[in-house]
């Protein structure tokens, strides 16, 4: 398929710019996942039994109290069909429920039924998917959640103003590779019901897809698969005050300032295998400088002890403090940033010669680049396109290179090139961090005789600049992620020669790969599909279209009185529904 709209990858990168520079906290006290080489995702999909509530209790947890959540920036959207960012997915678990969701038990995530009794059953090679809603799942006003509500929610993703959400439902349900085309076929709830989804009764949903779809269970876990009740759909206002189905409901929300959550009486623990309901209230405070928020949490002053952050990471300014002071160190919560991978993207149109790319790979001073951003605490060096967080992931390294770069080897490789590049332009976000990394690259590549011209670009304009079809830059760094923990949205998106430069930012063109993609997309069984995609990934990596840098690590802080904090293995932020106050 050809996609005309960017994947989560891009947004993720955008998010990174808004949150402050990459986090810290060495793998030493990183919470489990980061150091392992295998996926944190349990391959098997949850059964009906797994999907039954209540959620496995968090050891030592006690109810009561108010948890403060600091964040420098407000979530961009709360409307479930507009949400399209890991941190918001993570937070929205507090008030929103989806058809499926990830159940997390000591760092291991398993996809189970959430509103649905299971992760869905498919027939006719994955063209038809059926879900049954659980008994007793209800809205915050006590009314039961019906299949109509779910259907209406998914219908909304077609509507005007919902372009900001993921494009998959419309594309899959209409079989249109192009989102606009899909919307042309069906223009959202205003245009009446969507035939592709049947609701034979109040608890049953049947999806009909023109093509086989293997990833429906994972898509069903996305925020855009949340129910919305027609009579509660307040349009724009819904983006501020969504109607709750989860363990908490939003009782107050002042844009860019604060948001207060209270227990949702209508939520029944026995229906929910994922979420807990320990604290009485969550109070989100926005607009506090990340550094200040972190310092308050460390000092424990005014509410800091009961606080954590939604997506603000441990400020680099505080690395030393947390390293030297053990008590501060304890408060750092580290884990892999979901399925993100950071890489040095090469514009393959401008640098077509694979030998040159190989030379770059050999000269690439990965370790120094990581050092100026905080060192190993910011992530572990990568060799693959896919993240260890993915289903059935296996480590491999087709182009071994010294982490600190090997100028000599690079020179040798360069000698093989048809003609050595004159100068390469490196575009970077004009932030202190960006400038330093740029210096590292100029220095490192320079040693191998490759002149790199650093081009500072305004952070906000960065993605537009480097993704423009006629973008004049040869190299730039990008941190991106698949939309859900299977490889399905990796190669078929970012390395599809037919995709636009906004998605295929490496401008990688390989007809053979494209053919493979089309073939694999027809596979309806998730794990089989994944296996094929990993194989394909290796074919791509032989051409070195991009140079993997690291699997980033998230470091956040939690107050000394906050228990049960860990980085959600899928969403890459402190999982809020598992938190409790120690006293």
């Amino acid at each position: 398929m050809r996609w005309t709209r960017p994947s989560l990858a891009v947004i993720a990168a955008a998010l990174l710019t808004t949150s402050c520079s990459a986090g810290a906290g060495s793998t030493g006290h990183a919470g489990g996942a980061a150091s392992k080489d295998t996926s944190p995702l349990t391959a098997a999909l949850g059964t009906e039994k797994d999907s039954a509530g209540p959620a496995p209790a968090v050891p030592g947890a006690r109810p009561g109290g108010t948890v403060n959540v600091y964040n420098s920036v407000e979530f961009r959207h709360l409307d479930p069909q507009k949400v399209y960012a890991g941190a918001t997915y993570n937070a929205s678990l507090l008030w929103g429920r989806q058809l499926t969701q990830y159940q997390v038990v000591d760092g291991k995530a398993k996809l189970v039924g959430d509103l649905a009794t299971d992760t869905g059953t498919s027939t006719d090679e994955g063209r038809t998917w059926t879900y049954r809603l659980k008994e007793g799942v209800a809205w915050e006003d006590g009314k039961p959640i019906t299949s109509e509500d779910v259907k209406y929610g998914i219908e909304r993703t077609f509507g005007k103003g919902y372009e900001v959400g993921p494009p998959y439902w419309p594309q899959w349900l209409t079989g249109e590779p192009n989102y606009e085309a899909a919307r042309a076929k069906y223009a959202g709830p205003q245009a009446g019901g969507l035939a592709a989804i049947e609701t034979p009764d109040a608890r049953t949903l049947v999806f009909h897809f023109p093509q086989p779809q293997a990833d429906v269970p994972y898509m069903a876990a996305q925020s855009s698969s949340s129910p919305v009740r027609r009579d509660k759909d307040t349009g724009t206002e819904y983006d501020r005050l969504p109607f709750a189905t989860g363990p908490y409901r939003i009782v107050e929300h002042v844009q860019n300032t604060r948001m207060v959550l209270e227990r949702n009486p209508a939520w029944k623990a026995e229906t929910d295998p994922i979420r807990n309901q320990y604290p009485d209230r969550f109070v989100f405070t926005y607009g506090k400088e990340a550094l200040n928020g972190n310092q308050e949490i460390l000092s424990g002053r005014d509410g800091g002890a009961n606080a954590t952050t939604a997506s603000d990471e441990l400020s680099p300014e505080l690395y030393q403090v947390t390293d030297t002071d053990p008590k501060a160190g304890e408060l750092v919560v580290s884990g892999r940033r979901g399925a993100f991978v950071s890489q040095l993207v090469i514009n393959n149109e401008r640098v077509p010669d694979v030998e040159v790319r190989r030379a770059l790979n050999l000269a690439y001073p990965r370790q120094q680049a990581r050092q100026v951003q905080g060192g190993s605490r910011t992530g572990e060096l990568a060799s693959t396109l896919s993240s260890p967080a993915l289903l059935d992931w296996q480590k491999y390294d087709l182009n071994p290179a010294r982490p600190e770069g090997d100028p000599e080897a690079a020179k040798a490789a360069l000698a093989k090139a048809k003609q050595a590049p004159g100068t390469l332009s490196y575009a970077y976000r004009n932030t202190p961090d960006g400038q330093r990394v740029a210096q590292v690259l100029v220095d490192g590549f320079g040693k191998a005789g490759i002149t790199v011209v650093p081009k500072p670009i305004d952070p906000k304009a960065f993605l537009d600049e480097v993704h423009r079809a006629d973008s004049p830059y040869d190299l730039f760094e990008e941190t991106s992620s698949v939309d859900w923990p299977t490889p399905s949205t990796l190669i078929p998106f970012s390395f599809d020669g037919r995709a636009g430069s906004d998605i295929n930012s490496a401008r990688y063109r390989n007809p053979e790969v494209d053919r493979e993609i089309d073939r694999i997309n027809r596979i309806g069984e998730p794990r089989a599909k994944a296996k094929e995609l990993y194989a394909l990934e290796q074919t791509v990596m032989k051409d070195l279209p991009v140079l993997p840098l690291a699997y980033p690590t998230v470091n956040q802080l939690r107050g000394s009185n906050v228990g049960g904090a860990f980085i959600h293995p899928i969403y890459g932020a402190v999982g809020l529904t598992w938190l409790y106050l120690k006293s």
Partner: protein, 331 residues
């Protein structure tokens, strides 16, 4: 006096109008496409076009400006990126597509921080500046004078973004004498408010008091030689009393004027001071708006700051006029 007040007010309004026009032209004529910036990286051409329209960027600059002004006076309706209509009440300074919030509102959220910062700093400035100025004028030429002058000169030369951090390191991190700079609404907890603002107040006050101290010193010295001060002493008034009653009165004018400027400058300099102390006031807001290419917000912030400068200068002028009977009562 009345005509003076009227004239001064008209003048101020004129300046503000010009400032707004200049800011508008400057930023909306900038190369980076405001619509694209506002819409964010994921907008396709269609949405950008829509935003451009709702921002009114498809119209000539002049029309945009007039509409903007109209909005300031009467408020107006604006479409968000996703096409949803938002009413932006007067005074409407445009709509921030980055925050999905009317700029005026956003500014209002941040203003209290900046205001408390400025107010406190001004207080410190006044006490410190006047104090040192008066003392060194009285002890003119002696050691005390030289000492104080040196002190103020250091104040005039040190940069807030150095002293601020140094103070934090020493008073907060190594000794823990003062709490971290932070803002708590005084309505919630006055003590915490003062505590959190104390360090910024002191540092900012000290740095900015330098100029004030220097001026007050020279002013007082100049006025001390005024003949009416000599007359006062010839009446049998003591030196100190003569200076307190007559000299200070004579020196007041320029000082008040400077105070006005300082107040304006403090708000303008909020960008740096708030960065240094990590306070999320208008300054930070503006800085973030700039880096976020949030043009409506930038223009809004610039206008606000300009407003304050003009306002304070005007107030100062009026105060001076009122202080001086020759103007108050007319010739």
């Amino acid at each position: 006096m009345l005509t003076f007040v009227l004239r001064r007010t008209l003048q101020a309004l004129g300046v503000l109008l010009a400032v707004s026009a200049a800011a508008f032209a400057l930023f909306y004529a900038a190369p980076a496409d405001p619509a694209r910036a506002a819409c964010g990286p994921r907008c396709d051409s269609g949405q950008i076009a829509a935003v451009r329209q709702s921002m009114g960027l498809d119209q000539p600059l002049l029309t945009q400006y007039t509409e903007y002004l109209a909005g300031v006076v009467a408020g107006r309706d604006i479409n968000d990126v996703d096409g949803s209509a938002i009413h932006c009440a007067a005074p409407c300074l445009g709509y921030s597509y980055r925050l999905h919030q009317p700029v005026a509102e956003a500014l209002a959220d941040h203003l209290p921080v900046t205001l408390s910062l400025t107010a406190g700093a001004l207080a410190v400035l006044l006490v410190l500046g006047l104090g040192t100025g008066f003392v060194s004028a009285l002890r003119h030429g002696r050691r005390t004078d030289r000492l104080l002058s040196g002190f103020t000169l250091v104040g005039a030369s040190v940069q807030i973004y150095f002293l601020g951090y140094l103070a934090q390191w020493w008073l907060v991190h190594s000794t823990g004498l003062l709490p971290l700079p932070s803002y708590t609404p005084p309505t919630e907890d006055p003590a915490a408010w003062a505590g959190g603002m104390l360090l910024p107040w002191l540092v900012l006050g000290f740095v900015n008091s330098a100029v004030f101290a220097r001026l007050s010193r020279s002013q007082l010295l100049e006025t001390m030689n005024e003949e009416y001060v000599r007359t006062a002493r010839a009446k049998g008034l003591g030196r100190l009393r003569a200076h307190l009653k007559y000299t200070s009165r004579g020196a007041a004018g320029p000082l008040v004027q400077l105070l006005g400027l300082e107040a304006g400058a403090l708000l303008g300099g909020a960008v740096i001071s708030e960065t240094v102390f990590g306070l999320n006031g208008v300054g930070r807001f503006a800085a973030q708006a700039v880096s976020g290419q949030d043009l409506p917000a930038v223009v809004g912030a610039v206008l606000l700051a300009a407003c304050f400068v003009v306002l304070f200068v005007a107030l100062a002028d009026l105060a001076v006029a009122w202080l001086d009977p020759r103007i108050r009562l007319g010739r």
